[in-house]
């Protein structure tokens, strides 16, 4: 096996737990894996941000502006440290599709930990790309993350062409118009899937639209809490 990130060979250590069992080697070496920072400890119940309050100030702000507070809660896996920034840049912007495989086990674990009770009827909905962006990148990173989850996936959201979120500042992001549209109604709870949670605007826009179209509850899972 060769590490997907640093291209060095991974030599698995033989321990009692893998000596008699077939086991699946990880696609990333230990050194690289250790540089990723899993979010731990006390976190905001709503947006997964590391904080000692139960609900962070950002989420309280969203609460005050009730109309937009449409997601039950968001769960994120990783902190947006330098390593993760480099990985996201190569994966999403350079277009190194296979790097998404690195996050497969983490996504499945996180789903089982946080959303297992929803397993029966929840539908995973990836945040879509606009057609123009799809033509540029050739793949949707959120789609790949949604594929890892052990639930039904449905691409029911669509997106208008517009400026990149990552090129705007905080206030501009929050004040953008809803870029999504939908062509059907839905009567099951939805788990939105995206790669980065920064201000939460994107997810809230998508959730608002889903709720308007009959969705009873919207949850979110994001790879990184920016």
């Amino acid at each position: 096996m060769i590490c997907l990130w640093c291209y060095r060979e991974i030599i698995p250590e033989i321990t009692w737990s893998n000596l008699f069992q077939l086991y699946k080697p990880k696609p990333i070496c230990l050194d690289c894996e250790n540089e990723l920072e899993l979010l731990q400890g006390e976190r905001c119940r709503k947006c997964s941000r590391q904080t000692n309050k139960e609900i962070c100030s950002d989420c309280l702000w969203w609460d005050d502006n009730g109309a937009l507070d449409t997601i039950e809660f968001n769960y994120s896996l990783f902190a947006y440290n330098t390593m993760m920034q480099n990985m996201i840049a190569k994966w999403k912007y350079r277009g190194d599709y296979i790097l998404g495989e690195l996050f497969k086990t983490y996504m499945v674990e996180a789903f089982n930990k946080k959303f297992a009770n929803l397993k029966k009827d929840v539908i995973a909905v990836p945040i879509p790309l606009s057609n123009a962006r799809m033509k540029e990148r050739g793949f949707n990173q959120a789609n790949l993350l949604a594929e890892f989850l052990p639930v039904i996936r449905a691409d029911i959201l669509l997106r208008k062409d517009g400026e990149k979120q990552s090129k705007k500042n905080r206030m501009e992001r929050i004040l953008t118009d809803n870029p999504f549209f939908i062509q059907q109604t839905i009567n099951k709870p939805v788990l939105l899937v995206d790669d980065i949670y920064t201000t939460g605007t994107t997810l809230r826009h998508a959730a608002t639209l889903l709720k308007e179209n009959g969705c009873p509850a919207v949850y979110a899972i994001t790879l990184v809490r920016g």
């Binding site: 296979i98 799809m134 033509k135 050739g138």
Partner: protein, 468 residues
């Protein structure tokens, strides 16, 4: 033919001849682009080819399976390969084409008097420079210039480049390191003030690469095909050129059929030495530095507790002894260490110890630098301007940089990162100025290695060939 207004043909051919580009790298309107295709002015070829069980990326030459991956493409709606090796330059995938210019060739300017350099070459340099000129005139395929550290390689190239420009040839000076490109550009622009020169490296502002004289990192050559009449590759033994197969591949492809390739090095690798010995590779040897003094021969100093000291981030005891008895205490000091962490951690300890010793009055500033350091360029400049007195560095400063008057120490010279070439290069940092043509080089080690012995041997051998 439509009545579409085409930009003048010579403008297009200047922009695209010699280039090998993806569609997204060609900023032309679709109609014009299609028109050029139907005229056969642009020719497509597959970006990734399959042959039996092997794949090849046509841009970087990569054939390793683990550097390819499958992508379910949202553009062509099929699952196909893409190359992971050259992905930093924009993804090449199986559904894409690379385009190269097959329209009328651009004629480059015949410069009458391109060289504005006023300096003079020494006799030895002159001889080597003459050999380069002959090679270019006779369209010889290859020539290796083996010149000791500090022989003045760049200046030796000037007559050759001048000659090529006079004959309307296109010239590329490629080097593996971006630092060196940045250092070379102002020097060359000064020497050829009337010629348009472009410098290409990851993050350079001017990315067009359409000038007659181009200075580039070897990575940038991935975007060229059959472009240059004269290709000069500096430091062929340096990382990553000798380790990464796609760089020689790209450099070779960027040359025209009748191109002269000139390699420059101070420490040729085994393979090149073997080719020289078998007379398969013509070469010219420049054994003397431009100021005519021999290379400083390194001293080996055994330190019994070196590994223990270094693990505590302390300098070896023998170093503290040596620093008191340096021949010329006013020289700056360059300390090489094997790892980034050591460079960072030793800084404070060394400062404290040297201050405590008190033998070292002139200690103004001590700093460390390594590849991951953001202020790297600035620190190197500060050291050159003598604002920093002692600089702890990793191997990033082993080559391509000139400091006028330094002593050099290597901690743990037996470490794997210090191979023969690295040690010779590091020793070559000392005594580079005509005002202070000597300098001390000390290897602090715990058990000498083959690399150390061979490095010292080869320095002595070069001095001998230089007549010392």
């Amino acid at each position: 033919m439509q009545d579409y207004e085409m930009p003048p043909l010579h403008e297009l051919s200047a922009r695209f001849s010699g280039k090998l580009l993806l569609r997204k790298e060609i900023p032309l309107e679709e109609t014009l682009f299609q028109q050029l295709l139907s005229l056969n002015y642009l020719t497509p070829k597959k970006a990734i080819t399959r042959k039996n069980f092997t794949y090849q990326c046509e841009r970087c030459g990569n054939q390793k399976h683990y550097l390819f991956a499958n992508i379910p493409c949202g553009i062509c709606k099929q699952r196909h390969l893409y190359c992971r090796k050259c992905i930093e330059m924009g993804r090449t995938s199986e559904c894409e084409m690379l385009y190269y210019w097959t329209g009328p060739q651009f004629t480059w300017i015949f410069h009458e008097n391109p060289c504005s350099w006023q300096g003079e070459l020494t006799d030895v340099q002159q001889k080597a420079a003459q050999r380069i000129v002959t090679a270019i005139r006779n369209k010889e395929r290859e020539l290796l210039v083996w010149a000791v550290c500090g022989a003045g390689k760049t200046e030796m190239l000037f007559p050759g480049i001048t000659d090529a420009l006079q004959m309307g040839k296109r010239v590329c000076l490629a080097t593996p390191r971006a630092d060196v490109v940045r250092e070379l550009q102002p020097r060359l622009q000064k020497a050829f003030s009337k010629v348009a020169i472009q410098a290409l490296y990851g993050g350079s502002k001017d990315k067009q690469g359409t000038a007659q004289l181009i200075i580039a990192t070897t990575h940038q050559l991935l975007r060229y095909e059959a472009a240059f009449d004269v290709m000069i590759i500096d430091e062929i033994d340096a990382f990553p050129y000798h380790a990464d197969e796609s760089l020689p591949f790209a450099a070779n492809r960027a040359t025209k059929a009748q191109c002269t390739t000139i390699y420059l090095t101070a420490t040729p690798r085994k393979r090149h030495q073997m080719l020289i010995n078998r007379k398969k590779l013509p070469h010219v040897f420049v054994p003397v530095r431009f100021h005519g003094q021999p290379l400083p021969v390194p001293k080996k100093t055994m330190c019994h507790s070196l590994k223990r000291d270094l693990s505590k981030n302390l300098p070896p005891a023998a170093f503290l002894k040596w620093i008191k008895v340096r021949q010329n205490p006013s020289r700056q000091l360059l300390i090489f260490v094997p790892s980034i962490t050591l460079a960072e951690n030793m800084k404070d300890h060394l400062y404290r110890i040297l201050k405590l010793q008190g033998h070292f009055h002139s200690i103004e500033k001590l700093d460390s630098v390594h590849a991951a350091d953001r202020d790297r360029e600035q620190k190197v400049r500060a050291f050159r301007e003598k604002e920093i007195f002692i600089l702890i560095t990793t191997t990033i400063l082993e080559r391509g940089v000139t400091f006028p008057s330094v002593d050099v120490a290597i901690f743990d010279a037996g470490h794997d990162v210090f191979d023969e070439a690295a040690l010779v290069q590091i020793s070559g940092r000392a005594g580079r100025s005509p005002d202070d043509p000597t300098g001390e080089v000390v290897f602090f080690h715990q058990g000498k290695t083959e690399a150390m012995i061979q490095a010292i041997d080869s320095i002595k051998k070069m001095n001998k060939r230089g007549g010392f």
